[in-house]
């Protein structure tokens, strides 16, 4: 169409490729450069600030181990189902090797770590997705481990907290991955009907089948600043509707604006804020009404 001809010329974008020398400006490990504001800072200093850029507040990616350390009380974490590993239900070529490679790379068995721990003294069952393992994609093991963590919360009558970080369903497990959306949601429903508290904290990125199941099913749906959260991929949407999407499309802030989130919370305040929610939900008549 004629219209397309014109838009094409407008759409030209220029990408800047950092030169080899620029890349080497930052020595491996000691210093970290913020991909957002380009500030170069000590890695130690960054880590001390929960991996939040001290200048611009950009939230650097956290793996599951870092999350446990920063969010749970020191030494409180007890891992569940650590040894559970995936099969290859579709007999997918190279899948087994890819899993093994990621196990070696990350030191974890799958894209979610689950367990029990405390947050400022409050007991919780927790699931932490890890985007460094197969992009946090959800296959049978991710679905099963999360389901068991929910069941554990139900059994112990403690809150369930989930940190999501996932590209969506795991292609290599096909429709079995899709069904994990149903499995986890069905488990959450039972837990919820039994009065269980569900807190979902979406981190970068939370998309596809994960965003369309447990990530969106919290009694409180929260997100870290600047996280990509959405159902369909940006590129697919742009191809479908043939228009450019706003810069902040599918960010935490965008979702908050459109009524999809309760709050966007900086990682530096996250633990205390969540502890505040947990405190309000203390079971068993902790609170006594007193007229002043």
């Amino acid at each position: 169409m004629l219209k397309e001809l014109f838009t094409k010329t407008k759409k030209k974008k220029y990408a800047t490729i950092p030169s080899e020398s620029a890349k080497q400006d930052v020595p491996e490990g000691i210093m970290t450069k913020c991909p957002n504001c380009k500030k170069i800072m000590y890695t130690k200093e960054l880590n001390k600030n929960f991996k939040v850029c001290i200048q611009c507040g950009y939230h650097h990616q956290m793996d599951s181990a870092e999350r446990i350390e920063s969010f749970l009380d020191a030494g409180s974490f007890r891992e569940l189902d650590r040894e559970m590993v995936s099969g290859n239900p579709l007999g997918f070529p190279e899948y087994v090797d890819k899993l093994e490679k990621d196990r070696q790379k990350t030191g974890i068995n799958e894209a979610v770590v689950t367990g029990l721990g405390t947050v400022n003294g409050f007991d919780v069952s927790i699931a932490i997705m890890d985007a460094t393992f197969r992009m946090g994609s959800m296959g049978s093991v991710v679905g099963e481990k999360i389901t068991r963590a929910i069941e554990k919360a139900d059994e112990l009558s403690i809150p369930f907290i989930i940190f999501t970080a996932s590209g969506g369903a795991r292609m290599q497990e096909g429709v079995l991955s899709l069904m994990q959306m149903a499995k986890t949601s069905v488990a959450l429903k039972r837990f919820s009907d039994n009065g269980g508290l569900i807190i979902s904290i979406m981190t970068h990125p939370t998309t596809g089948g994960v965003s369309a199941s447990f990530a969106s099913l919290g009694d409180y749906n929260l997100a870290e600043p600047g996280a990509l959260i959405g159902f369909a991929g940006r590129r697919i949407i742009e191809q479908t509707i043939r228009e450019e999407l706003p810069e902040d499309f599918q960010t935490s802030e965008f979702l908050l604006k459109h009524g999809q989130l309760d709050a966007v919370i900086s990682r530096t305040e996250l633990k205390d804020k969540i502890a505040g929610i947990l405190e309000i939900h203390q079971p068993g008549g902790v609170f006594q009404w007193q007229e002043n």
Binding site: R78, E79, L80, D81, R82, E83, M84, V85, S86, G87, N88, P89, L90, F92, P93, G139, S140, V141, E144, T147, A169, M171, E173, G174, V175, L176, L178, M179, Q180, M181, A182, K183, S185, V186, A187, L188, K189, R190, D193, G208, G209, A212, S213, F214, A215, S216, L217, N221, I229, G230, F231, A232, I237, T240, I241, E243, L245, F249, H258, Q260
Partner: protein, 325 residues
């Protein structure tokens, strides 16, 4: 013949030849009956060969056939007194999903399904059967209504997927789908789901948490379209045929994986060849499912659904189980 598919061409050509010969014998004195008998025997063999050894990609073609019967067609053939209900009471009415109340063999039910169009005009109205959040929220509203009046729910699944659009994201496509999965899990009435065409990803699953999941023989159910899978896995969407085989998306595949309950047989060559007959096949399976589920109490229905999904997945503990230390 309109809408013929590549893989079945030999059958259709032979059929045409036979009818030509028959026509010819009628108009002349030449006796070709032995010839015709021979050809008919060959046709039978060929049909068996082709229709009983359908490759996944052949089934994908049938599932996507423009004449494939839609939800509303099945509703008109299987139910009486259908009264369609519109709107999600919050934003609008999404015509990519239809739903309402009806009677199935005289018994009140709620029936809901994806609805695609059969021509361009209708497809635009129905957004090609790809729902927005308000579609899923309408479906949920009707399910809760069914629960209130203790009506069983029958869902027909037939979508390429939830619509990937800007407005859909703004209105919470993810939340709408997730909410349906969550709420369907707890419905106190029987839920029977039937995949009648394409079962595309989360957009299909959002009507698919039931006590029974059935699939028509030539329908598909997948986490992503074969084209999408090929693009992601091999960076080449033309490998869709290969992806259709690898991804295990056909009814026999899903039965093998333990996900679905029954494969509903199809008319030879696909449901579109004889919709009335197809509805009869479907009727039988739905009747059986109703009889089995209507005797169960609320608690059993919910726990049956729980166990059904809890089972799905493949994993193991190769090393010794550690668990909580």
């Amino acid at each position: 013949m309109a809408g013929e598919l590549e893989f079945e061409k030999p059958v259709l050509e032979l059929r045409k030849k036979i009818s030509e010969l028959k026509e010819f014998t009628k108009n002349t004195d030449v006796d070709l009956s032995s010839e015709i008998d021979k050809l008919e025997a060959r046709l039978e063999k060929l049909e068996a060969e082709i229709y009983e050894n359908m490759k996944p990609w052949d089934r994908v073609q049938i599932a996507r056939h423009p004449n494939r019967p839609t939800t509303l067609e099945y509703i008109s053939l299987l139910f009486t007194d259908f009264f369609e209900c519109h709107g999600d009471r919050a934003f609008g009415d999404d015509e990519a999903i239809v739903g309402g109340i009806a009677k199935f063999h005289g018994y009140p039910v709620t029936v809901i399904g994806h609805q695609r169009g059969k021509d361009t005009k209708e497809n635009i109205r129905r957004n090609f059967g790809m729902p927005h959040p308000e579609g899923y929220r309408k479906a949920l509203r009707l399910m809760k209504q069914a629960e209130k009046f203790r009506r069983p729910i029958i869902c027909f699944i037939d979508t390429k997927g939830a619509y990937p659009g800007k407005a859909a994201e703004e209105r919470g496509q993810s939340e709408a789908i997730a909410r349906n999965l969550f709420e369907m899990a707890g419905l106190k009435v029987p839920v029977i789901c039937v995949v009648i065409g394409e079962g595309g990803s989360g957009g299909a699953l959002a009507l698919g948490v039931g006590n029974y999941i059935h699939m028509l023989e030539n329908s598909t159910y997948s986490v992503i379209s074969p084209e999408g899978a090929a693009a992601i896995l091999w960076k080449d969407s033309t490998l869709a045929k290969k992806a259709a085989e690898t991804m295990k998306i056909t009814a026999p595949d899903l039965k093998g994986l333990g996900i679905i309950d029954e494969i509903i047989p199809e008319v030879k060559g696909g449901a579109h060849r004889d919709v009335a007959q197809q509805a009869k096949y479907m009727d039988k399976v739905l009747k059986d499912s109703m009889s089995e589920l209507l005797v169960l109490d609320e608690e059993t229905l919910i726990s049956q659904r729980y166990e059904k999904y809890k089972r799905i997945g493949e994993y193991s503990f190769p090393n010794e189980f550690i668990g909580v230390k």
